[in-house]
């Protein structure tokens, strides 16, 4: 599908936000797009941060980190430029599995898909506590946006320049202490973070995984991970998995 760039600008040093508009698509929180770029053979998978539909059109918000040639090329697109997207891809989070209180846990560029999730959870009237981990204060983004949705936001930075000092699990510990049963959680971030979260909070939650992909729609088997229920494709069977399925 062809989408037209509306805006594309940096939020922090390496994190960019792009908005695109195109034909209406139904998006679940946790799903992603695959973007075709002129200089690269494979598309780039980017998680969907927000999707707003009106009058048969959908505005997508994508937040991405510039990590290589592909994402660097993406920064060159501006107002009016067209991009070929496959959207929506992947399964998305299950909103119904959680109760009236939930936790969202994001690390770095794992934060964006949690935004649409928070929006949907808040629309269902759930109480949403958000824990975000970043390396340093200058890398923090979307704290205000989550607060505006009515979420309680706690930020942790590894160097202590903002919020709790340490990892996101330290921030969770500071809020929930040791004896409080944490509610159902939804997490997205680096594997090291997911591993720490699972060992801290147990298997009662969902986690979004990231892997180097070929196609993005389940045919090439490039991103298959071993799980407790056998081989699963991150792009098609995921990217969201029940935490208890994952071998981290």
């Amino acid at each position: 599908m062809i989408f037209t760039t509306v805006s594309n600008e940096p939020l922090t040093g390496q994190i960019w936000r792009m908005r695109l508009t195109g034909e209406q698509v139904e998006v679940r929180a946790g799903q992603f797009v695959e973007i075709q770029l002129p200089s690269f053979f494979l598309r780039r998978p980017i998680s969907i941060c927000d999707a707003e539909s009106k009058d048969g059109r959908t505005m997508l918000t994508l937040i991405y980190k510039v990590v290589g040639g592909g994402t660097r090329e993406l920064t060159a697109f501006g107002y009016g430029d067209e991009l070929d997207l496959l959207v929506p891809l992947g399964n998305g989070y299950e909103l119904e599995r959680s109760g009236s209180e939930v936790m969202l846990i994001g690390g770095g560029v794992g934060v964006p898909p949690l935004y649409l999730l928070a929006k949907h959870l808040r629309a269902k009237g759930k109480k949403v506590s958000v824990f975000h981990g970043f390396n340093t204060a200058s890398e923090v983004f979307y704290e205000r946006e989550f607060k505006e949705l009515g979420c309680k936001v706690t930020v942790a930075t590894a160097d202590g320049t903002k919020g709790e000092k340490g990892f996101v699990t330290d921030a969770i510990k500071a809020v929930y202490k040791d004896n409080v049963k944490a509610p159902y959680y939804y997490a997205c971030g680096p594997v090291a973070m997911l591993r720490a979260v699972k060992s801290q909070l147990g298997p009662d939650g969902e986690m979004s995984m990231e892997e180097r992909m070929g196609c993005g729609f389940g045919v090439c088997m490039g991103c298959s991970i071993e799980t407790r229920s056998g081989a699963r494709r991150v792009c098609k069977d995921g990217p969201v998995f029940k935490a208890k399925e994952l071998i981290l």
């Binding site: 053979f41 045919v219 090439c220 081989a231």
Partner: protein, 310 residues
């Protein structure tokens, strides 16, 4: 017969375009993008005797916009599961010609899987992969010598009456004697090429990108290589007196023009592989564009151009 139809060992395809094994799963996921019934045939994911998880990750490395390297390592549910679940489901989605792609780690593996497929009426043709570069102690080793390729061919020939097409590796010094050895051993046809052994290095980490170190390079960057090898085999077979051994050309095909070029080189039908991963609609788009290109080039019937440059 319509102007785009082609014949592979008595099996008629409505057009020459076949998604290549490993880039199309078992059709289910692709059926979400378009109606699969426009396809000339479908070659399903390489299937082995036992279920396989495949290689460790990362399995994919990119090569600019020329293509990609994969080292998936034949992840598949195993032949019994495929016969029970994937194949019936594929038949529901697709009424056309189904090609079973088979791989193995021993001659006995190939014999076993092809023996089971022989009585499977939904399969019209068997493509025997002796050229996977991503599995140890087997796979490609069978496709890299004429003797081993012939041994697999004979074993498979003995257990099935279905047309047998041997899928050959480009990672050899001279592909023609291997092709002739397969034909001698009873292969009905050939499919070439599988991926070209390649490598990428992450220069920041000083490590191979692919966990398995090397992988199979595919995509438009290999088109001149596959075209050359199809042509060499087509000419070699003719010179050796094999006039009825059709070739399925494969490697880097992305456009309707590529399909025609591949057929002129000697292919009776053409597989589209890595391009499916970049653009899931590519096979449908090629098929829709073919009549226009045929008109431009003054081609009345596609099968007439097979081997025009052989």
């Amino acid at each position: 017969m319509n102007m785009m139809s082609v014949i592979l060992s008595g099996v008629e395809l409505a057009n020459p375009v076949i998604p290549a094994s490993g880039t199309f799963g078992f059709g289910e996921e692709m059926s979400g993008w378009y109606d699969l019934n426009c396809l000339g045939a479908i070659s399903f994911k390489g299937t082995t005797r036992e279920a396989r998880y495949g290689n460790p990750l990362p399995r994919i490395a990119e090569c600019g916009n020329y293509g990609m390297i994969n080292a998936v390592g034949l992840q598949n549910p195993g032949i019994e599961e495929v016969l029970k679940n994937q194949l019936p489901r594929l038949r529901e989605l697709y009424k056309g010609v189904i090609i079973a792609n088979v791989s193995g780690f021993s001659v006995e593996d190939y014999r076993y899987v092809c023996g089971l497929l022989d009585s499977e009426e939904r399969v019209s043709l068997i493509e025997v992969n002796v050229s996977c570069p991503n599995v140890h102690n087997g796979g490609m080793a069978f496709g890299t010598t004429a003797e081993a390729a012939a041994e697999v061919t004979r074993a498979v020939r003995a257990v099935t009456k279905k047309p047998v097409y041997m899928k050959l590796s480009p990672n050899v010094t001279d592909i023609v004697p291997i092709a002739c050895a397969c034909a001698d051993a009873g292969a009905d046809g050939l499919c070439l090429i599988n991926t070209v052994l390649g490598m990428r290095i992450d220069i920041r980490r000083r490590m191979p990108v692919i966990a398995n170190r090397y992988g199979g390079y595919s995509g438009k960057g290999i088109f001149p290589i596959s075209l050359r090898m199809v042509n060499q085999v087509a000419r070699g077979l003719l010179q050796a007196g094999y006039e009825q051994v059709p070739i399925i050309g494969c490697g880097g095909v992305e456009t309707a023009e590529d399909v025609i070029e591949m057929m002129m080189a000697g292919a009776s039908a053409v597989e589209v592989g890595a391009a499916n991963l970049r653009n899931p609609m590519v096979c449908k788009e090629i098929i829709e564009r073919l009549p226009e290109v045929m008109r431009e080039l003054g081609i009345a019937e596609l099968r007439e151009i097979v081997g025009a440059c052989a």
